[in-house]
């Protein structure tokens, strides 16, 4: 059974493209992309167990985290950089998003929407930090330090002058629903959002070779 957000990412990613999966866990998505879309995949994962699992799947995964290790990739190394359910756990989400769109032509980003009605209801009714299907842990145990709503995220994309190529919403284990993220109702309805983003202006339709890395930035 393939996770619904993975299914949506599989649909979005062009076959044979270069993909970086940031926070790739045990490499389930990278493995799917490699086998079903023949991508040239790389991964970044914070846990040693996750990386070891990826290595035994034959995936090229580096132990590291989004906050610190994206800086070392040359510009436009990838066609897609995927950040699945991780943005809210980074220390500098704005910088991370900016970096994703520096190293890749397109960023695929998903996050739990803190504007979802269950979250709002939990806070309004119980006066407690919400514990929902998408946000299952108590406040003191959650790795999510930078939660945002769909509207907050839209504001950030405008701020960074980032183009929204597509947006899908998920609720529970249901299938992806293509949405117009600017509609106010979606900020109530979407439990999890998945965006495909690119720089303004749009990258060329066909994949281009990345410039040869000069390495100048990577001395140290």
């Amino acid at each position: 059974m393939i996770r619904q957000d993975f299914r949506e990412i599989l649909r979005l990613v062009r076959p044979g493209s270069r993909v970086l999966d940031v926070g790739c866990g045990e490499g389930v998505l990278l493995d799917l992309l490699t086998h079903e879309k023949q991508v040239d995949g790389r991964g970044l994962e914070i846990s040693a167990e996750g990386v070891a699992a990826c290595m035994s799947r034959g995936l090229s995964v580096v132990q590291g985290d989004a906050d610190q290790d994206l800086d070392h990739f040359p510009d436009r190394t990838f066609d897609y950089a995927i950040l699945s359910q991780t943005l809210q756990a980074t220390r500098q989400p704005r910088h991370v998003l900016d970096e994703l769109l520096r190293i890749a032509d397109r960023a695929v980003v998903s996050f739990p929407n803190f504007g979802h009605w269950r979250v709002r209801w939990s806070l309004l009714h119980r006066g407690r930090m919400p514990e929902t299907e998408a946000l299952p842990l108590p406040w003191w145990a959650t790795p999510n330090i930078h939660l945002c709503t769909l509207a907050d995220f839209l504001a950030l994309t405008e701020d960074l002058d980032v183009r929204i190529d597509s947006c899908a919403a998920f609720a529970g284990a249901g299938p992806a629903r293509q949405i117009d993220p600017t509609k106010a109702i979606e900020n109530w309805r979407a439990e999890t959002c998945l965006f495909m983003l690119s720089r303004n202006p749009a990258p060329a339709g066909s994949p281009t070779e990345p410039p040869a890395p000069s390495g100048d930035l990577f001395d140290g």
Binding site: A52, C54, M55, V62, F218, G220
Partner: protein, 385 residues
């Protein structure tokens, strides 16, 4: 030589390969070595396509006996966790090669060898060699063995330095590269510890400016102290504490300078047993080669440039949390350069309290990571499904 190894299961071959006459090894120092000999061992056979050769590069105090049984000590090879039947590198599938570095004392030409020009042992007239010189000699050996490309070149510590040098100098011969607990350059602290070891050797009156081969005694005391100091850097503080704490050798203190503490006795044993199997001048030359190692220096100071030709090579880098000799930061520095160069790299820091030596010890996460990496490399090379 050809003998049955691994309890009679696998044929091991090897011997000494001599550079052809009139083709000296040209050295980074500007010097050259004539009639160079390289001692090596192999296990398994090269397949028809020549795609299954694996080169193992050894660390400072080790030798070509990576697997099987050591011919003089009778002990198992130093990396039988990695190399052997049913192991990630398996003579049943791979053609395994391991050679003694030049400057060493395991049979390859080194300071204890006879200088053909004088008929006397080289001693200090042996030229200073570098990691790149060692690799250049290995490349000649590989060619002589009929191997055009290496499925993998694998090494820990100084072996990892050789692997990086291979990637920089002979990327077209490589399909994959494994660097374990290593660094792309020696830090001030690394050089400092080596200098302590060298000074200990050179302060021994039996060293005789390196010309001890002609006399009766060797600088055993100096070499033992060098080994003792170095051995501490291979362990971690928690590992030493766990193993020895403040445990005493006997009941009560001696109120003198005997080995009261078990850790003292252990270190003395490490030092004393090392002199039986290692040459003091080789120790000077090899530590010097490591100190001189700075891969970025030859590439405009940018490590990524050293790997620019290796974008097709699959890399695996491993480090250990308690390794303070070549700490994770140094290994990560390599990984970042690989990333910047556009190479395909896998990297994991393995949780261990065993210090630098962890790479030679029981570390199941390392085993599974290497197994996973190498099997995927084999699949990609068309050697397995």
């Amino acid at each position: 030589m050809a003998e049955l190894d691994f309890a009679g299961q696998v044929l091991s071959e090897g011997g000494t390969w001599r550079f052809p006459a009139h083709s000296p090894l040209l050295l980074d120092s500007g010097g050259k070595l004539e009639n160079l000999e390289i001692a090596y061992r192999t296990w398994g056979t090269l397949n028809e396509d020549g795609t299954n050769a694996v080169l193992i590069c050894h660390a400072l105090s080790l030798d070509q006996h990576v697997a099987g049984v050591h011919p003089t000590s009778g002990k198992p090879g130093w990396w039988t966790r990695l190399v052997g039947p049913g192991k990630p590198v398996d003579p049943a599938r791979h053609f395994v090669i391991c050679s003694n570095v030049i400057g060493g004392c395991g049979g390859s030409t080194g300071p204890a060898s006879i200088n053909p020009a004088t008929g006397q042992p080289y001693g200090l007239s042996f030229p200073v060699i570098t990691i790149a010189d060692m690799v250049r000699a290995q490349a000649m050996l590989i060619e002589a063995l009929g191997v055009e490309t290496l499925l993998a070149v694998i090494g820990g510590s100084m072996g990892g330095m050789q692997v990086q040098q291979w990637a920089a100098d002979y990327p077209d011969k490589l399909f994959s590269a494994v660097i374990v607990a290593s660094a792309s350059r020696h830090s001030a602290q690394n050089i400092a510890f080596h200098e302590v070891g060298r000074q200990a050797i050179m302060a021994d009156p039996d060293w005789k400016n390196g010309a001890y081969a002609q006399g009766k005694s060797r600088p055993e005391k100096g070499l033992a102290v060098a080994r003792m100091a170095a051995h501490i850097t291979y362990l971690s503080e928690p590992a030493l504490q766990r193993k020895f704490g403040r445990e005493l050798q006997r009941d009560g203190l001696s109120w003198g300078f005997d080995a009261d503490f078990q850790v003292e006795s252990y270190l003395r044993h490490q030092g004393a047993s090392f002199v039986d199997r290692f040459d003091a001048n080789s120790y000077l030359y090899i530590t010097r080669a490591m100190d001189y190692f700075d891969l970025a220096a030859g590439h405009g100071g940018v490590l990524a440039q050293a790997f620019a030709g290796a974008r097709h090579v699959r890399f695996c880098v491993l480090s250990f949390t308690s390794d303070w000799l070549y700490p994770t930061a140094e290994n990560r520095h390599i990984v970042r350069a690989l990333t910047a160069a556009g190479c395909r790299a896998a990297f994991v820091e393995i949780e261990s309290d065993k210090g630098h030596d962890a790479f030679l010890l029981d570390e199941p996460v390392m085993d599974s990571a290497l197994q996973g990496f190498l099997s995927s490399v084999e699949r990609e090379r068309g050697l397995a499904k």
